[in-house]
Assembly symmetry: C2
Homo-oligomer: 84 residues x 2
């Protein structure tokens, strides 16, 4: 794997796992007050499109990263709606 | 431009503009309580790597989308640290 490909993989991993602490914080505190509802609506749609695009490119890293991020994003969105 | 490329562009646009409502909400409310600090630290590093990767691939959409997202992410991170 070329050196720079590692940077791409690292970027995908970091921007995917980045949402885990937010999921945990929302789960523990049940507090979503300062989280933007429209951010997670727009972001979830965008991630869904990245997932579709990943299938189109047949890119496993894109499919895995965006599938995981989609689950995190929809959970935060669900909690935001639940505590509105 | 092939039909599916539009999906990639839309995904990039949505996951970039998604952060604007969160930036505006944080700016207006000055409240970052339910926002995860570690999310935005990890996410900012990840976006920075996507930006580097975009330069490596010489991909203007990746460079533009990630540069804008980086500014949003660092602003939210700054406000989180400021109101810790």
């Amino acid at each position: 794997m070329k050196y720079f490909e590692i940077i791409g993989f690292l970027a995908a991993i970091l921007t995917t796992v980045a949402f885990f602490p937010q999921v945990i914080k929302v789960y523990k505190t049940q507090n979503t007050q300062s989280i933007s509802l429209s951010m997670y609506i727009v972001f979830s749609i965008g991630i869904l499109l990245w997932l579709v695009y990943g299938f189109y490119l047949n890119s496993l890293p894109m499919i895995i990263a965006n599938a995981i991020t989609l689950v995190s994003s929809i959970y935060i969105l669900y909690m935001k709606l639940k505590h509105k």
